[in-house]
Each structure stands twice: as C-alpha cells, then as structure tokens.
Symmetry: C2
C-alpha cells in the first residue's frame, strides 16, 4: 500500500528532458510552493516510482541530486526529508512569491519576466553535480603553462599605473586594440579598437544588445535547437521568440519568415552552431545577410568558440563578409581561456558603439580592470596566441579520441555530427527514443559518467535522440573510459 | 618658421603623467571635438615639438601610439594624418546618432533612454584628467601590504578546485557567508549568507534592483544632492525621479511626499550621505522606515563607505534596525579595497533573493570567480579585517590633515561638513557664488590641483558654493600643498 504524503499525490512531471530531471523539478516545485514544507518526510523511492510508473532508480537519482543540492536530507534508516534549514526561496524558482502572501514582493511585470526567463534557462544549464568523467560542454580548464603566465602576470598588473581605478567602461584601450587586431586576422572582422566593447562574458554582451535594441512585442529569431541563455535575454527584454529550424548546414534560411513584421534581430552561431555543431555554409551566410539587410534586421553573431577549429579553411565570420552595419559580433574568453574570467566582447557597428559603452557604464561601470589587464598582457606578449595553438592541439587530440571511441565502441549505432570545431560534438542515436535516452543518461550517471541530452536546448521536439558531448573537462583516457561505459549501458537499453 | 595647422595652435597639455601621454590625450581631444577632422594632416613632429617646447622624440612617441591605436595614419614621405575611417562618435558622446542621419540605428525607446541616462551621469563623474594633487572622491589606492597578499593569494586561487568554472551566479558561497557575517558584526545587518548576492560593484547591484522593481512611470525618490549613477539607473528603468532635499542631518523626512502614488523606491545613503557627507540621525532613520513601510516603498540603502568611520559610535545600517523586508542593503569593495576589482553585494529581503540571483545569471552569469575567490581568501584569513583597520588609520590621518589644512589656510572662509566618515568631506565657501567657484576650480586646475564642485550632483540649485574633497588619492603632504594652492587662489578670487 502506498502511503504517499498528500501533496505528492498529484505530482506532475513537465515532460522536458530526462525523467529524473522532471522528477527533481516537480519536487522543487512542491518545495517552492510550500506544498512540501521544511521537515516534511518524502515518500519512499519505491512508492513514488510506483505512482509515477517509472524505475525506482530514476526516483533515487532525483532524490540523491536534491540531497546533494541541499534541498533534501537523507536520514539513514528513517527516510528522506525536506531540509529544515532551506533557504526559503529556492533560487531557481520564482513562483514562491506568488503562492505565499506573507512576504510577497510584487516585482514589476518586466522584472517578473526577467526572473522567469532566467530561471527557465538557468535550470537547463546548471549541472546538479560534477561527474568523475564529465562530458559537460561549454566548460574547460586552462593548462599549467598559461597558469604560470597568469600568476606572474598578476604581479605585474598590480604594479601598473592606474591599475586600481575605474577605467573606460568600454574597456582597456590596449585590450580593445588587441581584440580588434585578432578579430581581423583570425575571423576576417575588420572593426577598429574603438568598435570593441569589453563585457563580462558573452552573456552580458547579449544582455546589452537586447536592452538597447528590443522593445516589448518585437520578434527575436533564434536557432532551434539553440542557446537558451540568448533566448532568455531576448525574452527578458520583452521580445517574442521565434524559432528557426537548424539542419546539418546550420540555420536554414528557407525557414526564415518571408515577412519580418516587428522582427528586430536574429541570433545565430554560424561557426559552430550551438548545440548541433553545424557550420553555416557560405551560401547560407550570404542568403542570411541579404535577408536581414533587406529587412533592417540586426544579426547577432555569437562566435563562442570560433578560435577552436579543426577543419582546413577558416570560414570568415558573418561580420567579416563586408562592411556591414547590421551584424553585431559577440566573442568570449570563456572558451579560449576559461569561464571564471568572465570576459567577453562586442565588435559593433559604429552607431552602436556609444550606446553600448553607455549601457556598459550604467550596468557596472566596466569589467574588472585587473582581469582585463591580465588578459591584455597575455595578448601583447604573444602568450595568448601560443595558448590558443596549444589548445587547438589539445582539443583536436580529444576530438579525435572521442570520435575514435564512439566509432569503436558504438559503431553503426551512433552518428557523429558537429565535430569540425569547438569543444563539443553531437552523438545521435538513430535507434533510441527519448525515453531510452533518459534511461541511458541515468545509467551513465550511476556509473559517475555525465552525458547530456541535446533535447533540452530545443523548443520544438527534435524527433531524434542525441547527446552533446563536450571534451573541455575530459582527457583522452577519460574519454575512452567514458565512452566504454556509455556503450555498455547503451547495449542494455537499446530496443531489440 | 612653424607652419602649424590651425587647430593645434592652441593645443593645451593637461599636465598629468608622462609628457607623451599628455600630447596623445591633447590630440585625441582635438580629434574628438572635430578640431582635427578625419583626413587632416598633422604638423611634423619637429614643428609640434618646437611649439610645445619639448624633445621631438616625445612627440614622435605620441604619434606612434596614436597610429597604433588607429587614430592616426602615417604615410611614408607624406606625413601623418588623422585616420579617415575613424569612428565618428567619440564614445562618451551619444549625440552623434541624432546629428548624422546616415547610419543612424534606431534604438528601442527604452534603449535610447538607457543610453541617455547613462551618458548624462557618466559625464558628471568622468575626470578629464588626473592632477598631480587630486582631491577626486570615490577613488582610492590600496597599500603595498594588501598588494602583497593579493599577489600571493592569486597564486593560491589558481590552484583551487573548480576555480575556472562558472560558479553560482549569486556568488561564491564562502564569500557570501563572510560578507553576511561582517555585515552583522560591523553594520548590525542580520541577513544570512543566502540573502547575499555578489555583484560587479554597487552599480550592478542598483541596476539589478531597478530592473526587478521598477516599471515605466513609477516614482523613484532620491536624495538631492545625490548620487547621479543611481538616478541614471532608475531613469533607465523608466522611473520618474523625484528629488528629496538633504540637510546637515541627511535626507529630510519632512520633505518626503505625504502620499506616495506609484512611489516604488527610495534611494538613500544614510551612513555618509553622498555627496554632502551628512550622517542620517537616528530619529530620521526611524521616521524614514515608518514612512516607507506604511506605504510599501522599498528603501535601497547604499552603504558605499560604511566601513570607514571616525566617530565614536557606529550607527547601525537602516537594514539592521529590525527584520525588515523593505530595506535592500547595497555594499561595495570599491572603497574598502579598490574600484577596479568591480565587486559589490546586495543583502536582500528573502523574497528578492531568487529574483536577484536570476537577474544576475541573466546579466552576466555571475561575477568573476577569480576575483571573488581572491577577496574571499582575504576575508577568511583575516587580512581584510587588518586592511580595513589600516585604512581607517590612513584615512583618519588624511581627514585630520585636510581639516587642519583647510582651517589653517582658509580659517573663517570655509565651513567643513561631512567629515565624520568615508573618504571625502565637503568644504563650503559661504562668501563665494557659483561663478566664483568655477573660477576657483579652473585656477586650481592650472596649478595642477584637482578640486570638484558639489553642485554637479544636485538636481535643484544648491544656493551655496562647495567643493567635495576626496582624500583617497592624496597623502598628508599632498593635502597640505593642495590646500595651500586652493587658499592662495581663493584669496585672489574672493569678492571683496
């Protein structure tokens, strides 16, 4: 007999992504609304699994994750409880305010929209835990050599004149010049130092563009599947999000709306489409620009891992095709160096430079001068160049190891795509359905191997099952071991 | 015979830093104002050196730098020219869009408002140059001891696990705990680590609050005179700014509007009113909170230099008076350490924690993990505490030197106010009118002493002349020399 606590009797799953994640979110929701109060006892995994008609292990995984995150407390031989010292507002869930009247703070409608858009996107990207072998994408680690230069470089920065003052909000002049020069040389983008605005990573670059350009009700076109954090920024600014289908050649211009009523911008990742890894073909680049220019639509080109490519010929950035006042180029040091620097940049059309610099001033008066000087010195001394060349070798070797391992251990069962650049590829499993994929992800997690479904980045159902496999955090040996585990679990789960 | 091009005949150097830098800035200024148009030929280095009475090499160096930066173009055997492809909008100046129709990009109305609000406020705070003796406020420099700890600390940070990843957008857990503990101990603010959100300085903290709370047409009450960057943030969010008069006891509750139709928030600097330096009296604190609470108005308490005080008894922060869900506390490391860290924090009512963390994620996914860890380690090792004590001694000595010098050299001509805490005080000149004050400021600037009128922070005319005198960048000797200059110029200008 199931003795399910009352509030969970109607627990509903949202159907997005792996099953254990759905359960986790549903429980978080119940905690957030207060349906599950601090101290309340949860049903046993067996009971909840029975109710939800899923494997007990999946419920266990959800519980374990929430214990790790501090929402639940497991007491041996007693049961699992909602933690009594919970921060009373789960951070990822903005709904508590509306359900509890007591300390309700009415946000402005735009503020509410901002918090909700963020909360949804954040839930997609946040990792519940770090696995021993972790194919998380968008993460990387620097090598010891660049660390040595950073350590020494920091001491130098502390002795530079004016190192402690507020700087130009658009960024350190020399850093901007270095970025401009590099963009020209490696990406074919001919913009001057004055057109560069340094930001806290690409995220702030996107937020600044959205705040300057979008008004409520404007349409923002985004790739689907695509980068949820960009969608969130546009939605927070009041835009209506219109997905545009992506295929093996990147965003499909044929899928663009013929008319563009109130369409203000188009967000695109041409060098290595996120998440599919497709490279936008030259013909499509051309079509895309014509389409956008003739309709007065801004293109935001997010070149998040444009520095890392393994194919022969560099494809120019969209912003580099010709002088074009409608392409905003957005880059980051989060992939070429590492995320916790929080440094990125915009290369802007002339007319947007002053507004963007002003927006940057208003937002935070400029990115950390210490961090900017640190990176600037890496660039002026040539260390940054050497680092990029080392990283290209590192990630090429890892890419090859991953492709080799997938081919060796999974053979015809897997289709590899998006492996021509960057730090992740996509492994499609033509014989798996979405629920199989969830089981595969959960089985790998139990063996401490982290793999991630591509479906969570899609707005429309993808119609096929795939994993984004990042190699920023795994070396060749880990890659091989991880893929062996994946393959072993796959064989157990694969439908006959 | 010198054949100097016309616009440079009056080229003036600002006297700050190395000579070639002064020349570079002067030329940039001429380019910025349009005095030197794109394509214009510059004088030969020989001619300009003769005019400026300096070595030719120094002019050459300035030219070379500007060529590197893209402002000038050198054509062999022809001369040096202002680059013809210069970005035509000097970054500080948002007006170009409206004057040149050609490549005008229509910002969204909210984007336009944001850029304009920022541009106005930024124009107030930006310094045109750095003076040998500079009484600029809101700026400071760390001492060598803390630099030693920072240098060593940085090496340690690079070896910490997960140092390179994205972190919790609300901030490093230990840093938040340290901030919470310190706020409780030194400011009487009893908020938990979970209620702290780390930001890029106070500026971003204010921007996040404004984005969450304000809707177009809401009223935001601000102190007058007051902090222009806060006003700008509220205005950018669409609020109507309502000034509230400030006197010697800080913001005057009697000046608050009796009804508060659409009044959403009240921005206040109770510990050391910016810019007057007044400390809000206990009675007024009480009144203020009652007023705000009964009307459902949020108080944003900006405690920008709350760590530095010289009077006997610490006055509790407003947020510390009792558990109060309507006071948002905002602090910064820009004064206690230095501005280029770009680190600050919010201590929030429970219900705003999740929305603020979400807003922070959307804005930039979190402040630099490296910088956060650096500061966190200073706090956990006690170095931060020791640093604050040293800084209190340093600024107390400077404050005393400044008060002494003003009293000695200007006697009855000056009234000193706002000197009980922080890093600046106000020198009022009862016998000067506003035009006299401008002349005094200009005369000091010619002697390479920087002083700054308080009037530029006021919305309503102040009715009296005063200078904000910061002592973050001047030691005791510089203070005495600077005040001597000020007094000498004052005697020449003062009406009989």
């Amino acid at each position: 007999m199931s003795r399910l606590v009352e509030p969970l009797a109607f627990l509903e799953l949202d159907g997005g992504g792996p099953r254990y994640g759905q359960i986790r979110r549903a429980l978080l929701g119940a905690i957030g609304t207060g349906a599950l109060a601090p101290g309340a006892r949860l049903p046993t995994t067996r009971d909840l699994a029975r109710q939800l008609e899923c494997a007990r292990n999946i419920v266990l995984l959800a519980y374990e994750q929430l214990v790790l995150e501090g929402y639940l407390t497991a007491r041996p031989r007693t049961g699992t409880f909602v933690s009594s010292d919970l921060p009373r507002a789960p951070v990822a869930n903005g709904r508590r305010q509306s359900s509890s009247g007591k300390d309700r703070i009415p946000l402005a409608p735009s503020g509410q929209r901002l918090a909700e858009a963020s909360s949804q996107a954040w839930a997609i990207t946040r990792r519940s835990r770090r696995y021993s072998i972790d194919f998380m994408y968008g993460q990387c680690e620097p090598d010891t050599r660049i660390l040595r230069h950073l350590r020494r470089g920091f001491g130098n920065v502390l002795h530079e004149p004016f190192a402690f003052e507020y700087g130009n909000p658009a960024g350190d002049a020399t850093l901007r010049a270095e970025v401009a020069q590099r963009l020209c040389g490696t990406r074919g983008v001919a913009r001057s130092a004055e057109q560069i605005v340094i930001t806290n990573g690409a995220q702030q670059a996107l937020d600044i563009c959205a705040r300057l350009l979008l008004r409520t009700g404007d349409q923002a076109l985004v790739e689907d599947p695509g980068y949820e954090a960009a969608r969130a920024v546009f939605r927070a600014a009041g835009a209506v999000i219109t997905p545009v289908a992506v295929d093996a050649e990147g965003l499909n211009p044929a899928a663009l709306p013929p008319r563009a009523a109130r369409t203000r911008l188009l967000y695109v990742t041409p060098s290595h489409q996120f998440p599919t890894g497709a490279i936008l073909t030259a013909a499509r680049r051309h079509q895309l620009r014509l389409w956008a220019r003739s309709r007065g639509v801004f293109i935001i080109e997010d070149d998040y891992d444009g520095e890392l490519r393994y194919h022969e010929r560099a494809v120019r950035a969209l912003a580099g095709l010709e002088p074009d006042d409608h392409v905003i180029y957005c880059g980051t040091f989060a992939k070429s160096l590492f995320p916790s620097l929080r440094l990125g940049y915009l290369a802007l059309p002339d007319a947007l430079v002053a507004p963007a610099a002003n927006a940057k001033w208003l937002t935070d008066r400029g990115s950390s001068g210490l961090v900017q000087r640190l990176v600037r010195n890496l660039m002026t001394t040539g260390e940054y160049d050497r680092h990029i060349r080392r990283m290209q070798r590192r990630y090429l070797a890892r890419r090859d190891a991953l492709v080799h391992a997938l081919t060796e251990h999974l053979g015809q069962e897997v289709e590899i795509a998006g492996d021509a650049s960057g730090m992740h590829l996509v492994a499609w499993f033509p014989r798996l359905g979405p629920s199989h994929l969830d089981a595969l992800v959960a089985a790998c997690a139990r063996r401490d191997v982290g793999v991630y479904p591509i479906a969570r980045h899609a707005l429309q159902p993808l119609g096929r099952a795939g994993l984004i496999m990042g190699y920023g955090l795994v070396d060749e040996r880990a890659i091989d071991r991880g893929v062996r585990t994946l393959a072993a679990k796959y064989r157990k789960i694969r439908p006959a």
